[in-house]
Symmetry: none
Subunit: 433 residues, 2 copies
């Protein structure tokens, strides 16, 4: 069963509005055991709408259309729909009463433009709009090509004049109206009309290795996955998310199978996995520190405040985060973190010795159990032969002592900063476990 989502909207096609409606519908379909096969975005234009409906009916069993139904755009879209389905607009009493009630609640009279919104194609099932004036529409086609303009039949079944029936559903484009109608009217009808699949998604979060190296490590495991399971790599700077999707008929069996595969994955890359699904490194660290009643501070140079920012993006982080120093200049490292002038002079600001003194300094200045320290060359310039752009030292002071590690994170400033901060958080996470 193939579902196509069509969004009508010029504002999407010039990039002014991002097509979040399609993403929302797709996610909702997925949660309910359906899968979108294709998204299409078209302009608010008769020929384009006709062509898109025609194209979609040739490849999809269900065509979900949203947009083009507002009071100012109503005319073109609904008349085009009538043309496509060879039907006509008729006054719909129920739709009119809904519009009247909505206006009464707001204390306005019904305008002519809104009265016209109660006119709906004769051959559709009207889907009531609880939050707005534009009704949704559900069309069951008979599968006869002559019900559509220029129908040429499905590509898979090219017998002239005969094709598989397609369900067409038209929804308003205003997100909250569309969502309410989709959840209340569309999903239950789809479940009645078609048989949803059981689907399970599990996302495994990894840190510390790039996509291609990770793929190399787990390729045997990936190759041995059952046919009904699919793996997707979703990389972000510093993090690679692995999404395992299993589709089948029995939710319980799928869950067991997914659990087993995740368990196997843990034995292959135990050090790289830091969490699942919507976890973040900062939320995990916050949770661990809270549980252990420990506190944290940060001394950062090249990340310029980003590490503290990520940590404090968690509501309630003041319970365990005491603060940080952004020691951008050498003098700030000396004055605020008590890094020795001689250490900087003999080893340079980006060095193991300095990052360790920074970590010790932050831990004592903020009187915390743990302190993260970072010094590096974020780029795009500032490197030397010995210390190329991208060189980063991360230090960690704990109640037991202090340690440091060197990394090379590339010369893109933004990504270098993000990778550095996430790597530092992951080092702390491992320490806390």
């Amino acid at each position: 069963m193939k579902i196509e989502i069509i969004n009508i909207g010029d504002e999407i096609l010039i990039g002014q509005v991002i097509n979040t409606n399609a993403a929302w519908m797709a996610e909702e379909l997925n949660r309910n055991g359906f899968k979108a096969w294709q998204f299409t975005v078209i302009s608010d234009n008769r020929e384009h709408i006709l062509q898109a409906l025609e194209d979609a009916s040739a490849r999809a069993d269900v065509v979900l259309v949203s947009g083009g139904l507002g009071p100012t755009k109503d005319d073109i879209t609904k008349e085009t729909i009538c043309e496509f389905f060879t039907t006509r607009l008729v006054f719909n009493q129920e739709a009119y009463e809904n519009i009247e009630a909505l206006f009464a609640r707001r204390g306005y009279p019904v305008t002519e433009v809104n009265r016209k919104q109660a006119e709906l194609p004769e051959s559709c099932i009207a889907l009531p709009n609880r939050l707005g004036t534009a009704s949704g529409m559900w069309f069951e086609t008979s599968g006869q090509a002559d019900r559509r303009t220029g129908g040429q039949g499905k590509k898979k079944l090219p017998t002239a004049g005969c094709q598989l029936p397609t369900v067409f559903i038209f929804l308003p484009g205003v997100p909250f109206e569309m969502k309410e109608m989709f959840t209340r009217e569309v999903i239950p009808r789809l479940k009645e009309r078609f048989t949803p699949q059981a689907i399970i998604h599990k996302t495994v979060l990894t840190q510390g290795i790039g996509e291609s190296f990770l793929a190399d490590l787990i390729k045997e495991w990936e190759g041995n996955l059952p046919a009904h399971m699919k793996l997707a790599y979703l990389p972000q700077p510093g993090i690679v998310r692995l999404r395992l999707t299993a589709a089948g008929s029995d939710q319980g069996v799928l869950q067991q199978e997914v659990n087993l595969e995740i368990f196997k994955l843990h034995t292959i890359i135990p050090d790289l996995i830091f969490g699942y699904d919507n976890d973040t490194l900062e939320s995990i660290i916050g949770h661990l520190l809270m549980q252990q009643k420990k506190t944290l501070s940060v001394a950062e140079s090249s990340t310029g405040g980003y590490t503290s920012h990520v940590i404090t993006s968690i509501p309630g982080s003041s319970a365990w985060f005491q603060g940080g120093v952004v020691a951008y200049s050498n003098r700030a490292k000396e004055d605020l973190l008590y890094v020795k002038k001689e250490t900087i002079e003999s080893h340079g600001a980006v060095s193991e010795q300095v990052v360790m003194e920074m970590a010790i300094g932050a831990r004592s200045r903020f009187r915390t159990d743990y302190a993260i320290a970072i010094t590096g060359i974020a780029g795009p310039s500032g490197g030397t032969v010995d210390k190329p752009v991208g060189t980063v030292w991360i230090g960690l002071a704990t109640p037991e002592g202090v340690s440091a590690k060197q990394f090379l994170f590339g010369d893109n400033r933004e990504r270098n900063i993000r990778r550095t901060a996430l790597t530092a958080l992951n080092l702390l996470r491992k320490e806390l476990f």
Copy 2:
């Protein structure tokens, strides 16, 4: 001239990732005098890719495809492309050297999986990827249907075996790689190959007022804009960008007309405009400080490092930014910024008195000319009747003295943090002028 954008990605079709690539490309096309006609999103699957390319070639002159080229997905997409264009993969020395250089910079050896990325279809023009391993590809079709599988000809020109040529462009799906390649390789080639409309965009950046209030202030000006000019509101937390777009045939005339309207806008909202186009508050401040040979430090509580992060996102900011303290706890405010314990006890941590002492403390600790200080309740909880969630105090210490201002920025943590930081930067900008 019709442009279709195809994005390949299962993660988009299940709603896990929103299709921001298409929106970005569409906006970029628009800025350069082109307009996207249709967006299509398909799955990472041979049949689907073939069908989408076939469908698109029947309705578009340029087909822009992104996604499906990562090291782990490479095989399917590139082989399918070869099948569609009846060509074969050959080793591309230039692409390989690019991969090698990229890995060398990171200090890694080239893996087998990445070596395969240097194999490209024989009949394409390779588009170098400066930021990643997947090359882009540009195909000029001859317009012969037999160059494609099952070609049925354009619908507008259904003569069998003959159709209008279509340009196909394949780009990586990783946003920063795609964007760099799009700007450097694709746009100039499109401009050479087709004739873009004369389009002028000018974006005016405002800070300090919300979208609907701004709209109210400038509604008369907006209503009187010539018909070929369009205004778009592009709000971000703390900033509203106003994009004026003029389309016509003569670039010079358009430029004059736009200049005139921007001049008028300045007379209506002189205090709200802080820059144009790609300016940022942090880049403007950096420029001013550099010019005036002055230095800056930051003392921040509720913004948790975000203000320092924004400032240090500018390459070379170490020339004028000395550093900052993230004083999340009261003790950190006392120990590192010399805020008096009595001041916190009698006025509370979120107060005019404390923020002024923080600003003075940062200025003296970091020995800078200017210091920004921030204390507030970022939310979502932590407010009181006197000081509701969202309350923020911003202080500014200068060579002439210290001042402070109170704001109320709402209870959404992320937006509160961003609005606070940008407002603080704008206060400094006004001081520096």
